[in-house]
Amino acid sequence: MAEEHQLPVDQETRPPDPPGSPIVSIGADVDVRALVGQIQSEVARKVEAGLYPPELLMDIEAGNDPLGAALLALRDAAQFSRAAPTASGRARFSGVVSALKRVIAKALGWHTRWILDQVHTFGSNVVATSSATAELLREHDRALNRLRGQMTRLQSQVPVLDGAAPSAPDRPDTSAGSGENRSATLTGGGRSRQVERELDYLTFENRFRGSLEEISGRQSAYLELFRIAPGKVVDLGCGRGEFLGLLKTIGVPGYGVDMSEVMVASCRQRGLDVRREDLLDHLASVPEGSLGGIFCAQVLEHLDPADVIRFFDLAWVALADGGVLVVETLNPRSLATFTNALYVDLGHLRPLHPYTLTFLAEGAGFVDVHVRYSSPVPPEGRLKKLPATEDAALQPLVTLLNENLHQIDELLYGPQDFAVVARR
């Protein structure tokens, strides 16, 4: 993808990447994580379309679950062969040796059959018991997931109930909707959302974020991930609805959620399905496993930390199995972020580190979690290299200086955004 950016190998000014991060920067047109993800989605589509025979479906189940794989191997191992090979590999006397082996096999047949029958019975019982145990474990797993979903939803209600409780005598009347309650609290997230209500975000975005076409161009890099989403895709904090427009172009059903009345009205004028609601309230209210994908760009930096954590938990519960999550935000590993994007928007509370969001996504239960860097600073805005010199004595200094410039350049003007991409 055009916006894909991978860290060069010789970048020592940044902290070392976590194990498994790509370190090779060549061949940027191949991203094996994306390719494997694409293939997994293709397989999911074929499963959905009923294109595989039952034995392959069993294999898929086993492949995704180590216990299933172990059971399959156990089943294979329980297929005992009753006939011992009697062929001989010897060049000479092979006929005689084979005949001798057959005679011995026949003579001992009654004995080996007696033992094999017992082994076979034992094997069948082991397979049956293991299968029953595995099914029981899976049932417990499903129950645990259901409980986890219920717990997350209940936890998300706690701040609302807290706000409704008449514990503080000077607390204002909170008879309005839950979204309003959340905004009225004095948390960082509350303050940020209050800013968003006061600020004319449509005018603000038109001036500072970039044109509709520019943002659509940037966000089109994520489109492929949602092409075969197992359900509707929601764009949380959809703003002017650029991504919803893109989804329409590929025929993927989607809708948006935004708190800004002006944004919602603007989207609806363009025929987009957008609801005015708090994004966390919305996530908590949709049925479990009902969403095919969640897209959330340039929003989490507006939330307070507790809400960021809750966001990932709620997203996991709301998504269907195989559903995709894409969360894009400012990249704090590039110092240019701190001189521009971070402070331009009054609603920004704090930048979020890619490692933190990866950690939260994995903690919530997402799989295939990885980071994509995007929005590189154009070459004209970056530090320039010194030209090579013909003076052989000076050249090592020029090389050294250029290496140092490169490191400083990466630190100052690295990619401006990143996205955490994950799958439920």
């Binding site: 991978q6 190998v9 010789d10 970048q11 020592e12 070392p16 990447d17 194990p19 498994g20 991060s21 790509p22 370190i23 090779v24 060549i26 061949g27 047109d29 191949v30 991203d31 094996v32 994580r33 390719l35 494997v36 293939i39 997994q40 293709e42 397989v43 074929k46 499963v47 595989y52 392959l56 294999d59 898929i60 086993a62 492949g63 995704n64 180590p66 794989a69 294979d76």
Partner: protein
């Protein structure tokens, strides 16, 4: 100690103070081609060429029967010394009695575990000599973790013993004798981060450790066309190189490839290169091939892809060799070390089930550009991360960090 940290280390390999290293390994001979044995041989060569004083302590055995076929005594291999000791007579009775229990995950007493380790390979002569001459070494490095030669070397010279475990997720890794080495060695040298993660799952409080890996020559030799002519391989082929064993997940590869042929057709052939009990089914497009070791690179350069279905690898030398030859790699998704390499290199794909295998093999078979791009990424990865200068720097950096060889 990752590649990033190593590159920023202030000293270069050649500037590090020379170490006196004893390398304990059960078999050591150019004919022995197992992963751990190759690792020992390559390290012995490279460390001695870098100026370290290396002595290999090994047995007189060539095969895993531990029969003493080579002469005891010393032999000079270029820049280092090989000292051979007679291997103890194996004890098949103790092995037969105890090994099934270990494989079933039963906890044995330390005495029984040591009895199993002593059942072969082990060398009392080597242990006596280590006790007597241990002081001549700054470091005694033992590998791999699950053999008696390694464990009893640890017992003989614990104060200067370093373990290069080549750890796999298998029942032997969970024995208390293994845990003891992982916790009480003077230092642990891992091949990859996932290997160290596995060790941490077994022993949360590990001895000091470093991830070093293994080095490779960037240049490969061999003519793919000459290979095809010599072995009569005409069409496109995928290859598996390694032991043909259940433990290496080869039956699964055979099952998947057979099904691929049935469902998708095509003329891709699978070559199985290596010794072992697993046999390909008759009549299909899978065949065993015995090749000269010298033709390995030519074969990998001619291959459309390398399959590596094993779930238990601590490094995978053959993956690196395939990448150096420009071949893409397809690995099993539950092989942590293998997917780690693929993710870091952008040079290979991983499948979790048959349908994914089918999609991936199909794409690789059809798309030469994809094969080339993956192979090129893999080659660059091996050159950047596993060139000998980087590996030696990490090795020396680790020992320097542990304060070894400072008088």
């Amino acid at each position: 100690l990752t590649g990033h940290q190593a590159r920023s280390a202030p000293t270069r390999a050649s500037q590090a103070s020379p170490l006196r290293i004893g390398l304990v390994t059960p078999r050591f001979h150019p004919e022995v081609l197992g992963g751990a044995e190759l690792l020992a041989r390559w390290f012995a060569e490279r460390l001695s060429l870098a100026g370290h004083q290396v002595e290999v302590l090994t047995t007189c055995a060539l095969e895993m029967t531990w029969e003493n076929v080579l002469r005891p005594g010393t032999e000079r291999y270029g820049s280092y010394l090989v000292r051979r000791y007679r291997a103890d007579r194996p004890d098949p009775k103790a092995r037969g009695e105890l090994e099934p229990l270990i494989r079933l995950g039963q906890r044995l007493s330390v005495q029984d575990e040591e009895r199993w380790l002593r059942s072969g390979p082990a060398s009392a002569a080597m242990e006596r000599d280590l006790v007597r001459r241990g002081g001549e070494f700054d470091a005694v490095v033992g590998l791999p973790y699950l053999l008696g030669t390694t464990y009893f070397a640890f017992r003989a010279v614990p104060e200067r013993f370093f373990l290069l475990p080549c750890l796999h997720n298998e029942p032997f890794a969970y024995m208390s004798t293994t845990a003891r080495m992982l916790a009480q060695s003077q230092g642990l040298i891992f091949n990859t981060e996932p290997e160290r993660d596995l060790a941490r799952r077994i022993v949360p409080q590990l001895a000091p450790s470093a991830v070093v890996g293994l080095g490779f020559e960037p240049q490969v030799t061999g003519d793919p066309e000459a290979f095809r002519a010599k072995y009569g391989v005409r069409g496109p082929f995928a290859v598996y190189v390694g032991r043909l064993e259940h433990d290496k997940n080869v039956p699964l590869l055979i099952r998947y490839f057979t099904r691929y042929q049935e469902r998708c057709g095509g003329n891709l052939e699978l070559l199985l290169v290596g010794g072992g009990d697993v046999q390909p089914p008759p009549g299909g497009r899978i065949r065993k091939l015995a090749i000269d070791w010298a033709d390995r690179d030519a074969m990998l350069a001619a291959a459309s892809m390398l399959f590596q279905p094993s779930l238990n690898e601590s490094f995978s030398i053959v993956m690196m060799q395939a990448w150096l030859c420009g071949a893409p790699v397809l690995v099993h998704a539950r092989g942590d070390v293998l997917t780690y390499h693929c993710r870091r290199s952008n040079g290979g794909l991983w499948f979790a089930n048959y349908p994914e295998f089918e999609e991936m093999v199909g794409r690789l078979e059809r798309d030469e550009g994809l094969r080339r791009a993956l192979g090129a990424n893999g080659r660059e990865y091996v050159r950047c991360e596993y060139g000998w200068p980087q590996v030696l720097e990490r090795f020396e950096g680790a020992f320097s960090g542990w304060g070894v060889g400072r008088g």
